[in-house]
Amino acid sequence: MLKITDLHASINGTEILKGLSLEIKAGEIHAIMGPNGAGKSTLASVLAGKEDYEVTSGAITFEDQDLLEMSIEERAREGVFLAFQYPVEIPGVSNVNFLKTAINEIREHKGLPALSAKDFLRLVKEKSALVDLDASLASRAVNEGFSGGEKKRNEIFQMAMLEPKLAVLDETDSGLDIDALRIVASGVNTLKSKENATLVITHYQRLLDHIIPDFVHVLYDGKIVKTGGKELALELEEKGYDWIKSVE
């Protein structure tokens, strides 16, 4: 589904990703862990197409298409979803209106007719239950006045609504208490299927107690320095990132 080959990317002339390679197949859950400044969030931003980052060399293919040639919204419409570390507030725009616009833009891209109001509302009801999101949040302005936990749950709710092929969760666990973490994780697990894939970016191991990854990668200084199964996460938690630095 996703193939990243020898990716180099920089921001304001400073190279952050220094030859990152990664392959994700449909049905898989991958976790990327690493210390602060390793380039985890940069990877998420580059995948989504954020302008501030310049890809200097390397390639990314997504479903056999050149992802780097696609605009931000094209990537989204093709099925790349980013759950933001810091979801943005959009005052005055209701969650429902926002999602309806997004869904219909995606459907138009796929040559599908716009969703009827009835079908849309049914979908909202079904998916908001998945992340235990209060129905009133759906009619409130996007993320405005939401608590940290509500914002993260709203991200997963949006993901459920948009049904992406590849979901990238950027530090979704940060700032969540244990209950919210469980809810978010169960949402992600419920949405898992043979057709889609998930890339979980996290600093701590605890999210991986709830979302069991097929592969764990350690990102350090812009490269993946170690790959293993879920037990690698536990090892990291125990030994700390200094262990990786010394391994290198």
Binding site: E51, E73, R77, V88, P91, G92, V93, F98, T101, L162
Partner: protein, 482 residues
């Protein structure tokens, strides 16, 4: 990659051409340029006015000659040469039409280009439209239906002929001729406008709507509007404006007076889309308007405006809350782009006890434009328990536009409650990125964000007008994006 930064947004906005820039070729009967007593006599004679009205005009002209143009607004422009302006232009074909089929096709086309076909409006929405082209009304619809209820809705000239007593009783009572330079000028030379009277206890069953349009080149338009809501009546009045593209600046100095008697309510909504000038700041309409309403006891006046046009705007729809328990509201969205300048806001004058006012102002500045909110909240000594809430938000696009807020509060009664909130924000790249990451195009994203920002104001507009206003915002801010 289809990049989109704020700088690009600013550039896109600068490239946007005025969409309603066309000129209708209809023969006009134009008075030679210049302003003197003779011209005023001529206007008054052409309109077959009674002597008292001619006197009113001449008195206003005397006052105007002693006044100078105000300079306190946060705008800079080449002052108009008042002797170079023609003060009257009427379409030559002035006979009233029996039906809309008789209307000049060219004129109909003009209406179609405005985006709202009159026939369609009549049929679909039941809006009665008094279409004003270059100062003379060419048609008034739904008159019969309104007449059944005793509602008078006609051109100002017609009101002068048919209902002179009402006009004489109320003209100039809210905006006196001495009020300001432009009001005095308007009082001297006003050409036409709209008149509306709602009898006691009548709730006007439809939105009353007038489409203004400046048409002949070089003619200033001096509209006069008078709306009287008698005791316990209700009316919602819509005013929409567009002007065709011209190189020279056109002056527009209207006066609107609203009178809400005891327990009456007037809702006055404006969408203003006049030619703002090109992207170098050449041309465009000068809009110096005096709008004011008077509330008697338990009466309510709501001003809602969406201002996207004009090169220079100077406009403060205000409320004089004279009666106890009267309510004044002002909801405004002002968009400026390129070299547009807007100095707009409101005055809430609390005279009565328990009077209440609300001010919600949303400014959006793009390009090199300057957008100012100027508001006065005045609580007089006898106005016990008066309350005001003001909220003034500014949204900036790009790095060379300006947003300014000038709130004035004068309070002479200790029991008053006054709240003022103000924010300034920039349309965030983060917000755009977030929307785009969900599959929403840049254009739609900007439209969503801007409409969300203006929501509190747009919600105040009658439904069909709100749709038009949203379209207008989209045209103004995202027309050529991408």
């Amino acid at each position: 990659m289809a990049g989109y930064t704020e700088n690009e947004l600013a550039k896109d906005l600068a490239d946007k051409e005025y969409q309603y820039g066309f000129i209708s070729e209809i023969d006009s009967d134009v008075v030679p340029p210049g302003l003197n007593e003779q011209v005023i006599h001529l206007i008054s004679a052409k309109k077959n006015e009674p002597a008292w009205l001619l006197d009113y005009r001449l008195k206003a002209f005397e006052v105007w000659k002693t006044m100078t143009e105000p300079e306190w607004a946060h705008v800079a422009y080449q002052k108009p040469d008042f002797q170079a302006i023609s003060y009257y232009a009427a379409p030559k074909q002035t006979k009233k039409f029996e039906s809309w089929d008789d209307v000049d096709p060219e004129m109909k086309e003009t209406m179609a280009k405005l985006g709202i076909s009159l026939e369609e409006q009549q049929r679909l929405t039941g809006v009665a439209v008094d279409f004003v082209m270059d100062s003379v009304s060419v048609g008034t619809s739904f008159k019969a239906k309104l007449a059944e209820l005793g509602i008078i809705f006609c051109s100002f000239s017609e009101a002068v002929q048919e209902h002179p007593a009402l006009v004489q009783q109320y003209l100039g009572t809210v905006v006196p001729i001495t009020d300001n330079f432009y009001a005095a000028l308007n009082s001297a030379v006003f050409s036409d406008g709209s008149f509306c009277y709602i009898p006691k206890g009548v709730r006007c069953p439809m939105e009353l709507s007038t489409y203004f349009r400046i048409n002949a080149g070089g003619t200033g338009q001096f509209e006069r509007t008078l709306v009287i809501a008698d005791e316990s009546s209700y009316v919602s009045y819509l005013e929409g404006c567009t002007a065709p593209q011209r190189d020279e600046n056109q002056l527009h100095a209207a006066v609107v007076e609203l009178i809400a008697l005891n327990n009456a309510e007037i809702k006055y909504s404006t969408v203003q889309n006049w030619y703002p000038g090109d992207k170098e700041g050449k041309g465009g309409v000068f809009n110096f308007v005096t709008k004011r309403g008077l509330c008697e006891a338990h009466a309510k006046i709501s001003w809602t405006q969406v201002e996207t046009g004009s090169a220079v705007t100077w406009k403060y729809p205000s409320c004089i809350l004279k009666g106890d328990y009267s309510v004044g509201e002002f909801f405004s969205v002002a968009v400026t782009n390129n070299y547009q300048q807007a100095d707009t806001g409101t005055k809430m004058i609390h005279l009565g006890k328990h009077t209440k006012s609300t001010i919600i102002s949303k400014g959006i500045s793009a390009g090199h434009s300057q957008n100012s909110y100027r508001g006065l909240v005045q609580i007089h000594k006898q106005a016990d328990h008066a309350r005001n809430f003001s909220q003034c938000d500014s949204l900036l696009m790009g790095s060379v536009s300006g947003a300014h807020t000038f709130p004035y509060i004068e309070c002479k009664n200790a029991s008053a409650q006054i709240e003022h909130e103000a924010t300034t924000s920039k349309i965030g790249e983060d917000q755009l990125f977030y929307c785009q990451q969900r599959g929403i195009s840049e254009e739609k994203a900007i439209s969503l964000i801007v409409n969300g920002y203006c929501k509190e104001v747009l919600n105040q507009l009658p439904m069909e007008f709100a749709v038009e206003a949203q379209k207008l915002l989209s045209i103004s801010l995202e027309g050529s994006v991408g």
